[in-house]
Symmetry: C2
Subunit: 332 residues, 2 copies
């Protein structure tokens, strides 16, 4: 197979298939057909099928909860967590628990039922990124919440139940384990080296060059040396920043361009796969802004998790990240 | 949705849908058709399609690598790790790495192409469990290896590429992250309480009773209060033991019976879903045998991981474990 590699931030190991690295055509292609057009609650004219909107980018003269929007934010009709109530923590014997308080919102990225990020123009992508920032900023002011996650599921294999392009926002009353491990790992590195581990990672990836997929003034996109999944890519700001919601206008614009670019490359290279992406960012009350550095992980859904991964926390990566980057660079 | 619950050993959070808990029929059913009969490398008569066998349970007078076996252990023809060579650790800048040394074996559980564990009798299941123990014991004597994982993937949605019933063995040159976290969590608990956290968990589950699925002289099977997945179940030995390979004959027999029973219940209740199971056990060089307690996690594949799970390490469980246990108890 090849090499064992250790993630320097969270300590997990991956097995990378460097000896017999799979090509894009070696993965089974999904068939993707649209089934929900005409009954979609996210399409213009069906605004009443969602809870009342929280925010929207609207054309002049249009009214809330009516057509005339380009991006629309609504509460999730089937939320994972409930926005109402105080947090009550308790124990049942061995187990700590808490009532299910949080926020769960939907950002409908476009009025078009058939478009996804690669089909939007740069200004439309900027509007989406602006909503990521404004919702995260707004929810961070709610003192009950400690972490705001922005993520996207595209395609049923990636867990999307609705096919109309949308991202999601979840606000949590605690810092999740995966985030806490990243914070701890990056703080430890900072204490030893007085540098941000992600800034060092950017320098190393740029110097090496083999895993770089794309770059613009503010962002580097690369296939991480310690990818968990085949054709996984990371978008990392070249400027040091812990909380993505603090981006300025130019940075937001460049993030929209980079997201559009990498998702388009994935579509061309891998045949429009289901995918997830999520923003790793600092918790709302985090103080060590010098050691953490926000970034996005983009995971095309090409393989299934199996017993080995569940039983160990190892991941098996069938395409060498350097090869993945080469294919994605060529898919322009 | 319901409740947030924290795993007391590894610290991850799950969101449990206690308010609108899904029934078995609410999950999409898989269609399961056999396609590989007649070309299967694990069927009798095709022994030459695998590497030479390591062990087998053979009928008198049969020869290695020929028909006449009931359980057969072979090296994986496409191993995740290579058995040959010394371990060489090195660093590339930020990243620690190691050549891909390990073992990867297949335990073919039955000569029948169409049977799975629920179709085997108790003696046949005992033979499978015996092979789990003998392979783990044998590989543990190789000083290069620190952890031996036994696991099973059934169905393509659970990552199985071959449909003939088989388990897998992987030996690793390091203790994996998920295992290390379990060891650390259970050691911390032992230091505070002078008791094994898993023994306490068994006592609590038995006292509560609502999540118990089945029990025999040596094993309790229950839907954990902090399940990661809908209809996940754990098999836990009622006797304290850190390393499963140390089971005596009676315990092995009872484990085989319990595995057969719970997999049969899953099949009846959930419509023959794809599933993974794996044995959580102590590392080969582990000394704190008083604080760790081996157990098996069984995960039917009913939903897909999505961006929220990847971005946080949270899990969303759509069926309350108490309801899952009720349905599985009834599926007798």
């Amino acid at each position: 197979m090849g090499e064992l590699r250790r993630d320097p931030v969270v300590g997990r190991w991956v097995i990378v298939n460097t000896l017999n690295s799979l090509k894009p055509q070696d993965y089974e292609k999904e068939t993707r057909e649209l089934h929900q057009e005409g009954v979609c609650p996210f399409c213009p004219g069906r605004e009443s099928r969602t809870p009342p909107e929280i925010e929207a980018v609207r054309f002049d003269g249009s009214y809330p909860n009516a057509p005339g929007w380009s991006v629309r934010v609504v509460p999730n009709r089937f939320p994972a967590l409930d926005i109402h109530g105080d947090i009550e923590r308790r124990a049942i014997g061995l187990f700590d628990m808490c009532n299910g308080i949080g926020a769960h919102e939907i950002i409908v990225e476009t009025p078009s039922h058939t478009k996804d990020c690669p089909d939007l123009n740069e200004q439309e992508m900027l509007q989406v990124v602006n909503k990521y920032c404004s919702r995260a900023g707004d929810l961070a002011r709610d003192k009950r919440f400690e972490y705001i996650l922005i993520f996207k599921n595209y395609g049923s294999a990636a867990g999307a139940s609705l096919e109309h392009a949308h991202s999601q926002v979840i606000a949590l009353p605690m810092v999740p384990k995966y985030v806490a491990e990243s914070l701890e790992g990056s703080q430890n590195y900072f204490e030893h080296n007085k540098r941000c581990i992600y800034c060092d990672m950017i320098a190393q990836e740029k110097k090496d060059g083999t895993r770089v997929i794309a770059e613009n003034d503010d962002f580097l996109c690369f296939a991480s040396f310690v990818s968990r999944f085949s054709f996984e890519s990371w978008i990392m700001p070249k400027f040091h920043q812990a909380n993505f919601a603090e981006m300025n206008d130019g940075q937001r614009y460049n993030l929209g361009c980079m997201l559009k670019d990498i998702l388009r490359r994935n579509r061309i290279c891998l045949g429009n796969p289901s995918y997830n992406f999520f923003i790793n960012t600092a918790p709302t009350k985090y103080k060590h802004h010098h050691s953490y550095h926000w970034h996005i992980e983009i995971i095309p859904k090409l393989t299934n998790m199996a017993g080995f991964e569940w039983g160990t926390g190892f991941y098996v990566v069938l395409t060498d990240p350097a090869d993945a980057a080469k294919y994605l660079r060529q898919a322009a």
